[in-house]
């Protein structure tokens, strides 16, 4: 590595530093959300940039560089989460999740959220298990489509939909101030 880095560094480094400075905070925040740990997030963010730097050759300029780096970061974090647990298929929807949601449903978050501060929402998100936290982060922080999320998590698109739907329900429960009339599932 000692020699290799030397030779490859010059042409790319200047640009990459700009990219790094521009996206570091966002990548760090993404890692924080995904890993739910500030310390691990710092390491993961750094690792993501290291990987991005090492694989610049494989970057397709047709897509935004930031998206590519976010993808590396989310992949890395999800890999870390998978490694943490014995169960590899942590994002699989189990039988209990395959339910037909009622037409009533719980009250949307909007009313709750209006009154809550962003921090409370983030705390509530942090209290969710990674199974629900990760899809929510990818969908509403990274603003990825279900298709992209299913590719990252390696589960069916329909499962992603269920995870996100359930995740939001849990989020409402955690936030504790449900204003809905119907009893949520």
């Amino acid at each position: 590595m000692v020699g290799a880095v030397e030779t490859r560094k010059q042409p790319i480094d200047l640009d990459f530093e700009v990219v790094y400075n521009m996206h570091y905070r966002r990548v760090l925040n993404l890692c924080r959300y995904l890993l739910n740990s500030p310390d691990k997030a710092e390491d993961a963010a750094h690792e993501a940039f290291l990987r991005a730097h090492a694989r610049l050759d494989s970057y397709n300029p047709a897509y935004p560089l930031s998206t590519w780096i976010f993808k590396i970061a989310s992949n890395y974090c999800i890999d870390l989460l998978r490694r943490k647990t014995a169960e590899k298929r942590i994002f699989d929807v189990d039988a209990g999740d395959h339910y037909d949601p009622p037409s009533g449903g719980s009250s949307p978050l909007s009313e709750v959220l209006a009154a809550e501060r962003g921090r409370d929402v983030r705390n509530a998100l942090g209290s969710l298990t990674e199974k629900y936290r990760v899809p929510l982060v990818l969908a509403y922080y990274n603003e990825l489509s279900y298709e992209e999320i299913s590719a990252i998590l390696g589960v069916e698109r329909s499962q992603v939909a269920v995870l996100i739907f359930r995740g939001k329900e849990y989020l409402r429960e955690r936030l504790g101030k449900r204003l809905g009339k119907e009893k949520p599932r």
Binding site: V2, V5, R25, E47, A48, R83, S110
Partner: protein
């Protein structure tokens, strides 16, 4: 269209509904107020969620750490210095605790300052390893197969179950136990009142005995067919041990028969029985009584040694005083304060004494020496200043070059060994602590493993890896120092770091301490890296 459920609405809002369904729902919304308001609320919910989550991006108060391509997070020289100081303090404290405690009298013999004891333990361990090497190596193939198999099983299990560190450790211990305990070599563990073996008893296995703390003494009066490994206050062996005896005690008396060798670390060892092979001791006082007989060599490191009995082969002694009154079949080698051969003593071979003064070797009238009598006096050599010799500098250059080449290969093979995420003093403190543990624990573990029947190959491998680790430790730290100073990584910083380190470790007075601390820190980094590599599979980014 009947009103869609919330799940469908949520999909619609997220833009994830099939085109046809989305169109149908959109038409339905025009005609159904309830659904329209629900969809609107879900949209608002999404917006708020996005806003809340992305809110933290606007927080620009945190600083962006400097990006370094080959290192980890930004590294701090202050953190490094703090770490070094921390380790120094921890080391000082731990040694003060270890060496400065006033132990109760009964535990006095445990005091590490009793050099004879520590020397004795080391000598015992080494000799035991060599003594049993022949037996071990006949089983080397079997041992290697077992070890390889166990390691493969361990890694396989860790891979398959992807268990965490704790489970891995437990598996490791189990596998290690499986490795080192040989079938057919049973160990009888005896503690407390059971530790003593009455005259009528015969034990077919090796006995591992720990004395009852309340009892005054532990007596082995019966027969042990295997080895005896015993720990206690006073241990009396009046029966028969057919194998070796390893004892750690305050006072050891051997009046019976030992078929193998005796390895003893104790305050006092008195042998008035028969030992078929060697007597190897590290003690304050060793006394081979008139009736005692050693079939092999007597090797002692002690304050006072009295050899009245019969030694069939050599007597090798490092002691403050040695009184030789009995028979020694071959040579006597002595180093220390004073050696006296009384009139009753007989030596078959030479007598060599490394003493301070000529008159410290006293041979009484009537003493018989078959060979020659040699006195080696200390030769006063003028102390030369090593810093003024060319060879010193030449040697240092060779060292740096060797480390440089090793470092290049090392970091090429294992880039993660570069201490990357060492951004704070606490990281270095941690590395120092881990390093200290590794530095102390690994040799002890190796010695313990070596004492078991087929553990010697593992112990040797462990020890070699340990030495390699100690050598690589400074290179790892040098790479970090070079990178921190030059704010760059690569060949030149590595070389610069190595030069700085070699200068530092050669400084007069403090060089040795710096050397030691750097080894500790480097070992810590290496141990942590190895642990991480073993406990985690490499992550895939894509």
């Amino acid at each position: 269209m009947i009103c869609p459920n919330e799940f469908t609405c949520a999909l619609f809002v997220d833009g994830e509904l099939q085109e046809e369904d989305a169109l149908e729902l959109a038409l339905h919304l025009d005609s159904c107020k309830a659904c329209d308001s629900r969809v609107a609320a879900l949209r608002a919910e999404n917006r708020t969620l996005v806003q809340c989550l992305q809110d933290i991006d606007s927080d620009m108060s945190s600083t962006v750490p400097e990006f370094s391509t080959s290192s980890g997070r930004s590294v701090s020289a202050v953190g490094f210095a703090l770490g070094v100081i921390g380790v120094a303090i921890a080391f000082k404290l731990s040694t003060a605790l270890l060496f400065g405690l006033d132990l109760p009298v009964e535990f006095g013999w445990l005091n590490p300052r009793e050099w004879a004891l520590s020397l004795g333990v080391a000598v015992n361990a080494v000799f035991y390893a060599f003594q049993n090497a022949d037996a071990v190596f006949t089983d080397t193939t079997q041992g290697l197969i077992l070890v390889s198999f166990s390691v493969a099983v361990l890694f396989g299990m860790v891979r398959i179950f992807k268990r965490g560190a704790a489970v891995t450790s437990i598996l490791g211990v189990l596998v290690a136990i499986g490795c080192v305990s040989s079938p057919g070599y049973a160990v009888d563990l005896r503690k407390g009142p059971r530790a003593s073996i009455p005259p009528t008893d015969t034990v077919d296995d090796t006995v591992l005995a720990a004395a009852d703390p309340k009892a005054q003494s532990m007596e082995i009066a019966g027969t042990i067919k295997g080895d005896l490994i015993a720990v206690g206050d006073v241990i009396v062996i009046s029966g028969t041990v057919e194998g070796n005896v390893i004892v750690l005690a305050r006072r050891v008396e051997i009046t019976g028969t030992v078929g193998g060798s005796v390895f003893g670390a104790a305050h006092t060892i008195i042998v008035s029985g028969q030992v078929a092979r060697n007597l190897i001791t590290g003690t304050d006082t060793v006394d081979l009584s008139r009736n005692g007989a050693i079939g092999g060599n007597v090797i002692t490191a002690s304050r006072e040694a009295v050899i009245d009995g019969k030694t069939a082969r050599d007597l090798i002694s490092a002691a403050a005083t040695l009184d030789l009154r009995g028979d020694v079949g071959r040579n006597v080698s002595f180093a220390g304060g004073q050696v006296t051969l009384t009139g009753s003593s007989r030596v078959g071979g030479d007598v060599g004494a490394r003493v301070g003064k000529e008159e410290n070797l006293r041979v009484a009238e009537g003493a018989v020496i078959g060979g020659q009598k040699n006195v080696h006096l200390p030769v006063a050599t003028p102390r030369s200043n090593r810093y003024l010799t060319v060879s010193f500098y030449a040697w240092q250059v060779v060292r740096v070059l060797g480390q440089f080449v090793t470092g290049l290969v090392l970091f090429k093979l294992i880039p993660s060994l570069m201490p990357s995420s060492m951004s704070s003093g606490s990281d270095w403190l941690m590395a120092g602590a881990v390093g200290f543990m590794t530095f102390v624990a690994v040799p002890i573990a190796a010695i313990i493993i070596a004492l078991t029947f087929i553990g010697l190959p593992i112990a040797l491998i462990t020890f070699v890896l340990y030495l390699i680790g100690c050598y690589l430790a400074k290179i790892v730290i040098a790479e970090f120092v070079g990178r921190s100073v030059m704010k760059n990584s690569g060949v030149v910083p590595l070389l610069a770091g190595l030069v700085l380190v070699i200068v530092a470790v050669n400084l007069p007075w403090i060089g040795t301490l710096i050397n030691f601390l750097l080894i500790l820190l480097g070992l810590g980094v290496i141990a942590t890296t190895v642990y991480r590599r073993v406990s985690h599979r490499p992550a895939e980014a894509f």
